[in-house]
């Protein structure tokens, strides 16, 4: 489990989980669950596009994630945000089915991208993942207070000179970055589980926002480690453990909250 | 009113309500004579909405009784909730909203029915809403939406009509129109109206009775009896001046001192142009 071959996986998983915990905290308090679920799924066809065009997979994923951000933002201007999110998601996935049908059918590849796979992280892939992760984390840390303030009250934020619309777009971009890098490991369908599960527990365990943020990062990393270890031992898909552990974290958080009050 | 032999349209006795540990209403009592127009006046947070929701049975009181002539809320009480945010995407015309007031609780699709159509049309005419009856409610102005909601509440001919801040966010002309409309309807149909507002002035010409709420406690009676410095000072627990200027009433705390709970004591202050 700790062979040099697996070492890269551990490093990458730690990086993406820490980022997911950081960004996920704001996903939970801003109520952005649907967008957090839709963005990685919209990015997923990018892998198929990359395979068809013969470009780097991460580049393809980032490109489609950007389309997802543009779509959600564009459709939101004339309609309900959740309808915009849903339609962007299905549009890009629809394109994805087309790309998949035209490329060499590789069911194993599709399955891995959707549900995650531990193995197969090369040393060369660590650098872009770490760079994108750092960008997402840095942006979150810089926008820490505006993100929190506009989550509490958009009017309040506006009064302080923070345009809620811009913060929304900035946060979509941050989510897209954080989720795209986690996608190859955890899988497009379950990235957001890593984001909202630990973060929802952290929010229920403490009332102090910055402590909650730290807890969210910690729990997310532990979740990812546990999921990898269990997946390695059982040979079952990592997504199963991420989804289950995320729900478990939420349940624990709710129970603690319930016991307090 | 106590000497009157007719049964009150609404009798509230020693009503107390606590929500998540906080006392919202504290031994509130008043009764409304049938056909009277009553203003429920108080600042934001004084418990007006909670009182109305208790009467409707949406909030369980911790003590006291509420008796309402006619029985169940859905039949006997018409209700206009506080500022409904009509979703601009909601595909309902003003006519459909009034129709839902008639039979929105029934299962199944409403079948074409001449009697139902006529009743809805008559109600729309009664609130003077025929002009915009076929527009989407989300596209109507605040005053127009309020009229549609009044029609929605009145179509089952309730004996008692509760309105929660129907005048908030309306311009002065719409306020006068809505108050005039409510007055006409009560006169014609003999409905008892209990209307909450933070400003009593638009209601002064039509109000038979006032229930004044502050800090969860209430005094009631005619405007002349209740809106007096001595009575309100006792209710608030500190000195209150009632100033009458050009036929308008201003309720002012002495010096605008800050109260113990942090709220400014000059509520409700009403400075508005003379109509």
């Amino acid at each position: 489990m700790f062979s040099s071959f697996m070492l890269n996986s551990w490093i990458v998983a730690t990086i993406v989980a820490a980022t997911a915990g950081l960004v996920g905290f704001f996903v939970v308090i801003r109520g952005a669950s649907f967008a957090a679920h839709a963005l990685p799924l919209s990015a997923f066809p990018g892998a198929a596009a990359a395979a068809l065009l013969g470009v780097n997979e991460i580049a393809g994923l980032v490109g489609f994630a950007a389309l997802g951000v543009l779509g959600i933002n564009g459709f939101s201007r004339r309609g309900r945000p959740e309808v915009a999110t849903a339609l962007t998601l299905v549009l890009l996935l629809g394109v994805g089915t087309l790309l998949l049908s035209q490329s060499r059918d590789d069911a194993q590849l599709v399955y891995g991208l959707l549900f995650g796979q531990v193995l197969g992280v090369s040393r060369a892939e660590i650098v872009p993942i770490a760079a994108l992760s750092a960008a997402a984390s840095l942006a979150t840390l810089m926008l820490l207070r505006p993100l929190l303030l506009s989550a509490v009250s958009p009017e309040l934020a506006q009064a302080r000179g923070v345009a809620p619309g811009r913060i929304d777009i900035a946060f979509l971009v941050i989510m897209a970055l954080a989720e795209t890098i986690a996608l190859p490991v955890v899988g497009a369908l379950l990235v957001f589980s890593l984001m909202v599960g630990p973060a929802s527990a952290a929010r229920n365990l403490t009332d102090r926002p910055w402590l909650g943020l730290a807890l969210s990062v910690g729990l997310s990393v532990v979740t990812a480690w546990l999921a990898i270890a269990l997946a390695y031992q059982t040979n079952w898909p990592i997504g199963f453990f991420v989804g289950g552990l995320g729900a478990l974290a939420y349940a624990v958080g709710r129970a603690v909250r319930g016991a307090k009050s | 009113m106590d000497g009157n032999a007719t049964l009150p349209a609404l009798a509230v006795e020693r009503l107390s309500v606590a929500l998540s540990g906080r006392t919202i209403l504290d031994h509130v009592g008043f009764s409304l004579a049938p056909g009277s127009f009553c203003g429920l006046i108080g600042a934001n947070g004084s418990g007006k909405t909670t009182l109305l929701r208790s009467i409707l049975g949406l909030v369980t009181p911790s003590g006291g009784t509420i008796r309402c002539a006619g029985g169940k809320p859905g039949q006997a009480i018409g209700y206009v909730p506080q500022k409904i945010q009509f979703d601009p995407f909601m595909p309902l015309r003003a006519r459909d909203v009034v129709g839902l007031g008639l039979d929105g609780h029934r299962f199944g699709i409403p079948l074409p029915n001449a009697a139902r159509r006529a009743r809805v049309a008559a109600m729309l005419a009664a609130v003077d809403a025929e002009r915009f009856a076929d527009q989407r409610v989300g596209d109507l102005s605040g005053g127009q939406q309020q009229r549609v909601m009044i029609a929605h509440a009145l179509i089952r001919a309730p004996k008692l009509l509760l309105l929660d801040e129907p005048l908030a966010n309306l311009d002065l002309r719409s306020i006068a129109e809505v108050v005039g409309l409510l007055h006409r309807l009560t006169e014609k149909q003999g409905i008892t109206v209990l209307l909450s507002a933070h400003d009593m002035n638009p209601l002064l010409p039509v109000m038979d009775q006032i229930v004044y709420l502050a800090h969860g406690r209430a005094v009631s009676g005619t405007v002349a009896d209740v809106v007096r410095g001595g009575v309100l000072s006792q209710l608030y627990g500190y000195h209150i001046d009632v100033i009458r200027v050009h036929g308008r009433v201003l309720v002012v705390a002495a010096g605008g001192v800050e109260a113990q709970d942090g709220s400014l004591l000059c509520d409700p202050v009403h400075v508005a142009p003379i109509p």
Binding site: I29, G31, S33, F34, A36, H37, R80, E82, T85, A86, L87, L89, V90, L91, L93, V95, T97, L98, L100, S101, A107, Q108, V110, Y111, L114, F115, G116, L189, L190, F192, S193, V196, G197, F240, F241, V242, G243, G244, G246, A247, Y250 | L56, G57, L58, G74, Y79, P81, F89, M90, P91, L92, D103, G104, H105, F107, G108, I109, P110, D134, H152
Partner: protein, 285 residues
């Protein structure tokens, strides 16, 4: 000449067995999704609708393992998820979305596991693609009766809940004082929603069924002034997209020999295109 080509394609299209099954089941799924979708969008439950569809994929993949009818699997899992969301029930929108997300994550975890078993225990390598992205032309002819039965049931239930749902959408308090059991009606609607998404999950795939649920309904709500009209527009568009998609996918076997284009792609493209177009137009009757 082009016309005669078209006619000969059309003739083959009608006589094709899988096409006939797809037209029937897909049509039923599109109709139910459009009708249920109008209320789903009105109630702000687009995410819940999408989540139920996604989670239903766990049932779809389990049915391959257990040898059940796919529709039974899809629906059982969607109904279970609906119950889970209701049990964890939350009022505030943000909290409700979070609960939806947590249930969705757990459900998709199960999908991952069942698909893994599908792929390791049997030789169905295409399980992931067919469950998640649909298998319109691979529907068993025996499912037609069951699927249309479920569709009819869902439509009847939607009709029954029509007025209470609208009154609740107007204001839940108003509904409560009129004696509507707001929570019970809401749960009934979610169960109907589960029926709708399992039908469309079986046809255009679990993660794409959201297209049929949300897209036509959103168009109808944009264009119509009345609920009935919105539902009619949604139903028409849903049918057009599905049947049009089936025809184009059938025809596409001639465009790129060996690689037919997927039905789901065409369905989604037509729906999103229609949504973009309706954004440019005003409202009709």
């Amino acid at each position: 000449m082009v016309l005669s080509d078209f006619l000969s394609v059309l003739a083959g299209f009608w006589q094709n067995g899988p096409v006939q099954v797809a037209l029937a089941v897909g049509g039923g799924a599109a109709l139910v999704s459009a009708v249920v979708g109008v209320f789903t969008v009105l109630r702000g439950q687009a995410f819940a609708g999408h989540a139920l569809a996604d989670v239903s994929s766990a049932g779809g993949s389990a049915s391959l393992l257990l040898g059940l009818r796919p529709l039974v699997g899809f629906f059982a899992m969607a109904a279970l998820a609906a119950g889970g969301m209701e049990a964890l029930g939350a009022r505030a929108v943000r909290e409700r979305d979070l609960v939806t997300g947590i249930v969705l994550g757990a459900g998709l975890g199960l999908t991952a596991l069942f698909l893994y078993f599908d792929m390791t225990s049997t030789a169905t390598t295409g399980a992931a693609v067919s469950v998640m992205f649909g298998s319109m032309f691979a529907l068993a002819p025996g499912t037609v009766t069951l699927a249309l039965g479920v569709a009819a049931l869902a439509l009847a239930a939607s009709a029954a809940l029509y007025r209470p749902l609208l009154l609740i959408a107007l204001d839940p308090d108003l509904a409560t004082i009129r004696g509507v059991r707001v929570r019970a009606v809401g749960f009934a609607h979610v169960v109907v929603l589960a029926m709708a998404v399992s039908l469309s999950a079986m046809t255009i795939g679990a993660i794409l069924s959201t297209a049929l649920l949300i897209g036509p309904a959103a168009c109808g709500l944009r264009l119509a002034r009345r609920t009935g009209t919105a539902i009619a527009i949604a139903a028409g568009l849903g049918l057009l997209a599905t049947w049009g998609g089936i025809f184009l996918a059938y025809d596409s076997f001639y465009w790129t020999p060996g690689h037919g284009w997927p039905v789901s792609f065409f369905v989604v493209a037509i729906i999103v295109g229609a949504y973009a177009l309706t954004g440019l137009r005003g409202r009709a009757g």
